[in-house]
């Protein structure tokens, strides 16, 4: 008798939040051997004889033939194992068991939410809240978003509120800015910020400068958002970080979220802001789940623009970062903590206007500064932080020159070993901290 296990593959385009893994494993009866799969958190459905797959609780023996929910052509989709489910009974399946271990229960109201889902929620809530808000960009409507950020929104709000554009960055960005000048509140998506370079004249000269040139009579309440910086293996033309480029210009606000809370709160704040905001997301963070408190999941949760967050308290050195490298800083901090070095990790959240006061207060406390970013070193975010620290009161509290950890000063190569070494890794941050502390 053949026992077939169907574990549905992870498919982010599917509507429900359940994580689905698909993997067909055929075993013969009696062997009770199966591959050890990384299935933490997944319930396994398995069936008998190749027909009739049966949902099974906790992964114990098949119960008999019943129609399995969600069965498609002989495959059965698994549902997420939730916390509070009973764990699989040990010893039933034999030597190597597929573990469908329920995850630990988080505090009340707290959920794991990916950055993608957080952004999606933010867009959904803001579209609902204000009729003047609309989304435009390439593939945002019928494709559900190139990175699925706008999944489900076109179905819910229709052609008027979610607009697919042709591949005309300069044209549609100008149209979005014009719509903002005339009273709408557009969210203009760039498939990646690399393409925003084609439209940068509209972002800077038409959007950023208009409030000033018109002495405040014309507001431009627009959000430009999309993935920024390096992805994985997309090579030089698709990997540039624009934080320094947009951060340079007065009239713009520039935000750079890391966690889901950052993403949702900053996107909502940006949409509600009456000024042009550039929101630099990160593609590699889209699928990463973060804990979101109940408060963070509410419809009125906003993260104020212009305020940094201290992600980890510390006493020996200040690590300042934005976007994905914040995660690397926390990892480095965890490693360094074992060696007795306590790092204070600051997540900038906003590039312009930069919350230098939080950084200064931290440097006054720790006396050492390391900045970490994915962009190129010359004229970068780290350079600006160092210059401002030098100009301010915190300079007198530095026991060593500030250190910058940045992307390598080269266009991004393709080969994995080269690409990995072009971006700040945890080991680079640790090395920099030790250099700053002279240990």
């Amino acid at each position: 008798m053949t026992v077939r296990y169907q574990i549905v593959q992870r498919d982010d385009s599917l509507q429900s939040k359940s994580m689905r893994i698909q993997h067909r494993v055929t075993l013969t009866k009696g062997t009770r051997r199966r591959q050890a799969l990384k299935t933490t958190g997944y319930r396994i459905f398995w069936g008998v004889g190749g027909k009739g797959f049966v949902p099974v609780k906790g992964g114990v023996r098949p119960r008999g033939r019943e129609a399995a929910p969600g069965r498609v052509g002989g495959e059965v989709r698994c549902a997420e194992v939730r916390c509070g489910d009973s764990p699989p009974v040990p010893g039933v399946w034999g030597a190597r068991r597929l573990r469908a271990v329920p995850p630990p229960c988080p505090a009340a109201g707290v959920s794991q939410v990916t950055v993608r889902d957080a952004l999606n929620q933010a867009l959904d809530e803001e579209l609902e809240r204000d009729e003047r808000v609309f989304l435009l960009g390439e593939e945002v409507a019928q494709y559900d978003g190139a990175y699925k950020i706008s999944r489900g929104l076109w179905k819910k709000y229709g052609d008027k509120r979610v607009i697919d554009t042709p591949i005309s960055e300069m044209g549609f960005t100008g149209i979005a800015v014009g719509a903002a000048m005339a009273g709408l509140r557009p969210v203009c998506e760039f498939m990646t910020f690399n393409f925003s370079m084609q439209a940068i004249d509209q972002v800077i000269n038409s959007a950023a400068k208009t409030c000033y040139m018109s002495a405040g009579s014309i507001a431009v309440p627009i959000v430009f958002r999309g993935p920024n910086g390096a992805s994985a293996g997309v090579a030089a033309q698709h990997s540039q970080c624009f934080a320094a480029w947009y951060g340079h210009c007065p009239g713009l606000k520039v935000v750079s979220p890391w966690s889901s809370e950052d993403a949702k709160g900053l996107l909502k704040a940006s949409i509600r802001d009456d000024n042009p905001v550039v929101m630099l997301e990160n593609e590699l963070l889209y699928g990463v789940p973060f804990e979101m408190s109940e408060q963070a999941q509410s419809k009125d949760f906003v993260v104020p623009i212009g305020k940094a967050k201290i992600e980890r308290q510390g006493t020996h050195v200040t690590l300042v970062s934005h976007s994905r490298p914040v995660g690397h800083c926390l990892e480095a901090a965890a490693v360094l903590a074992k060696e007795g070095v306590e790092c204070e990790v600051i997540n900038l959240r906003t590039i312009r206007p930069m919350d230098i006061e939080t950084v200064e207060a931290s440097v006054v406390k720790t006396n050492h500064l390391v900045t970490v970013e994915g962009g190129w070193p010359q004229f970068g975010v780290g350079a600006e932080i160092c210059a401002r620290i030098m100009e301010g009161s915190a300079f007198n509290y530095l026991d060593a020159p500030a250190v910058r950890v940045t992307g390598a000063d080269v266009p991004m190569p393709y080969a994995k070993i080269l690409e990995d070494n072009c971006l700040p890794q945890v080991k680079d941050i640790i090395f920099a901290v030790k250099k700053a502390l002279n240990i």
Partner: protein, 374 residues
Amino acid sequence: ASRVVVASRNYADFASEATFEIKKCDLHRLEEGPSTTAVMTREEGLHYYKTMQTIRRMELKSDQLYKQKIIRGFCHLYDGQEACCVGLEVAIKPTDHVITAYRVHGFTYARGVPVREILAELTGRKGGCVKGKGGSMHMYTKNFYGGNGIVGAQVPLGAGIALACKYFGKNEVCLTLYGDGAANQGQIFETYNMAALWKLPCVFICENNRYGMGTSVERAAASTDYYKRGDFIPGLRVDGMDVLCVREAAKFAAEYCRAGKGPILMELQTYRYHGHSMSDPGISYRTREEIQEVRSKSDPITLLKDRMVNNNLASIEELKEIDVAVRKEIEEAAQFATTDPEPPLEELGNHIYCNEPPFEVRGPNQWIRYKSVS
């Protein structure tokens, strides 16, 4: 000697209106075009005359002030093209929207900003329409979005304003103007595509004054039929020196858009007497004879004046009185523009953001800070 009244005209002597034959427009993808006759009442005629004359004198005054170095930087003058902005403005409603490039003084006046505020903005004073923050190329008022310095960038903006018109559903249109030089910009073709796809109520208007700075249209464009360059967008070619022709064409175009048929394109054939800007004498790429010919045969103000006098809508004396009044207005405005104080230094930091609590802006060094108020 006693004074004898030689002649007097009673205003009851004038006709209340007259009908004029106007030039037929060349059409692209249109079965019919605007009417070839236009009715103009006496009041309308006087209004058009006064407006055009005001713009003419205002531009000439700006020329004077620039040569006296009271106006600095860029100054792009509109004299010769008055029929365009006046004809367009009277064809649309104040609730419609207009956006143009940098040759903007005429439109700013037509859209309702007083001459003194325009001249004060040119001279960089606090009484300027945008407090001296914008200058010649960046003038704004209600439903008028400038005033844009980057050639061609205003065209997608205009289509965006048209998108907002459609979105809000208030039956408004947006006139989006650009020149013959800008007509070769790629972003304009991107905009044509999207405006036609989404049926935006956008009237694209190419003010063809035959020269993009120093480059004549023959040297810049493979096709100088600018009204056809919209390809799938219907177009009209209009005599831009005749205010009635412009008016009728603009009415036709605005109606087309309001009917929800999508965008339409108008090419206004016009001419500028000055060079591209005040730094350009305007005679290295065209002859003085050409300029003189246009002045004598096609000047928009002279054309209107002749029409009105010949059709008994006004007398020469009456129009001369208007001229005198206009000159006086311009003199007073220039007086204001030269005596009004410059904006206070505190203004430097203001209006970076809208609706923002006050914050500090860095000056040329770390100790100089300006407060920024919205």
